[in-house]
Amino acid sequence: MGTATLRVFGIEDPLVSFSLIVIGILFFLIVPGTIALGFLDRKLGANLQARIGPNRTGWRGILQPFADFLKLSQKNGSASFGSGELFWMGLALFFLFSNIGVVPFSRHAVLFDSPLALMLPLLLLLCFSFATLLLGFGQATVNGWFGGIRGIAQSVVGLLPAMTSLLALSLQTGDLSWANLIQTQSDGIFSWNAFSNPFLGLASVIYLCAGLVMLGLKPFDVSASRIDLHGGILSQMYGRRLILFRLLRGYGFLLWVVMTVHLFFGGWSLPFALDGVVSDLGSIPLSMAVDIGVLGAKSAILALFVFWVAKVNPKPRADQVTDFTWKYLASLSILNLLAVLLWKGFVHA
């Protein structure tokens, strides 16, 4: 479906179309999205803390991410890449950017679909979380080693609740394909999975939290703790490596938020059953722009909510994160799976 879109622009070759879409998503969605999220995090954090935040570079500090990029790109530490570090960074890049092709950003750009398509981003992100966090494990410092150990522990415990929530979703949609997911959620806000079934609403929370734990992101970023580990897995990252690493982590967060919106909050579907209007716009680029805009807006709201919770609350310890995930999230996700099944049976009966 996606590559057919580019016939509008006179591009017939499916491989060229696919490549152009992936490159377009990377440079026009992912990188700006990651930069925007990072900037919003700093500005929102400053606002919550009664500070101003970045305000010197550009209008209200909007060019601060670019200034940081320029500053960091001029720095390179004295230590060269260890061979292990290079391997794991390459692996992280490979797994993370493999996701670009499997997560659609518009109804006209669904590049890949299958009955298990929704599982693929989860598995790829799990591999990414292992690869990224083993970067710390491969560093020859206590900080990096502890950060890596914590990160791996989080990845292991976060997988079960995330996968169970996904299974609960599959009970609603029938399978784990993009086509079914989009079809199920295209009839207004109460057709979105989080609102059509109260237990799927709970599943959305579990899925989001489990993902943040798995990826070691705020508020569960104990593997990169500044207070006790001097940055943990980030402690040996500086200059150009730090840019790349921040981009990877930012993209991981963006991707997980986009997946949550897709799975539970309707994706690019508008709340008032206006999907038909968007489909009938008559212009594919305009329709794609609306889809990306709606998806982006929902993802931004969810991301800002996560930032808000992370900024306001203290940070839990690593063992408290794994205890919480294993004892509560995992158990709750299994019970929730049963509850979704019962609810569906009750509604259909």
Partner: protein
Amino acid sequence: MRADSSEYLDTDLTEWEIGPFHGSLPAPMKLRLSLDGELIVGCEIERGYLHREIEKTMERLSWDAGIAMADRVDPESSASSELAFVAAVEGLASLEISDRTAWIRTLVLEMNRVSSHLGFFSRMARSAGAETMSQYVLRDRERLLDLFELMTGSRYLYRFFRFGGLNSEVSDGVLERVLTFCRELKLRIKEYNDLFSYNRIFLKRTQGVGLLDRREAMNFGLTGPNLRSTGAGFDLRVDQPYLKYQNLDLESIVQVSGDCHARYLQRLYEVDQSLNMIRLIVDQVPLGGASFEPLAKVPKGENYAMIESPRGLVGCHVVSSGGAEPVRVAFRTGSTAALSAIPGVLVGYRIEDLSVILASFDISMAEVDR
């Protein structure tokens, strides 16, 4: 919670040296930790990174100039160390102070206590990862520091107390501003409680962590809030009142659990108590003068004065040979005893508890190393 035997991994121990500058440490010092996995099984402390030869320097300065050095024992609670020195010399020289001087000194001490404890809350919040609470507290402390600047001329190292009086007069306008600040900070305390003090994550990070029982605390010579948080209700202002504390109907506040949360709550309640005292003091400050005469020489002899500082007892022993400079000045500080208790307290807890435990003792390496 302290790890039980089942949590020890019994692996080869990792030796980890952190410091002198590290995010977990409240001030420059070195910790050599022995770790079994993430559990701390041993700790050695190396101090001295902030040694500034204060006591030796005071032997070469005049008595008046020594007040500025006494400030620097602990810059954050400089009023206490300054007053300890001034009171010791006044006792030696048999100098009387006016009623107004005594009230104003009491006021400055309590304001300094609030300022120091607000700094503690900020460090405690940051150690637990609550940056928002940390910034809120610092914002409120800024207003108090502005009041100090108005009153004494500086935000931290006041050099406000003089032998027999005060450096400058305090106007009624300043006292009104102090009262306004007290009213507003009282409301802020409620905000801190709602946001942070009983936050579930903060409770899990602090309750049962860094346990120190009463007997151990007394054996280590702890004083101040660190001691009172273990249930021992010794407060110099109550038990051996000085200045105008006997007029303020003060009661010793204690917590009993002896963990990090108890040390936090102890200081929170003490801030509330200090704010109440400040309001009473402002109502009772009499009119009058607070001037002083410069002191060139101090009669031969020695004297010791103690003050209840925000970090425990600060004592100053002064020896004079009758000349223009002291023969010896020695300070006894609350943080020194607290630091000696740290290695024992840390054993059995995790690396992540290190920053919370160190922050909860409110150790000032400036007053340890001097």
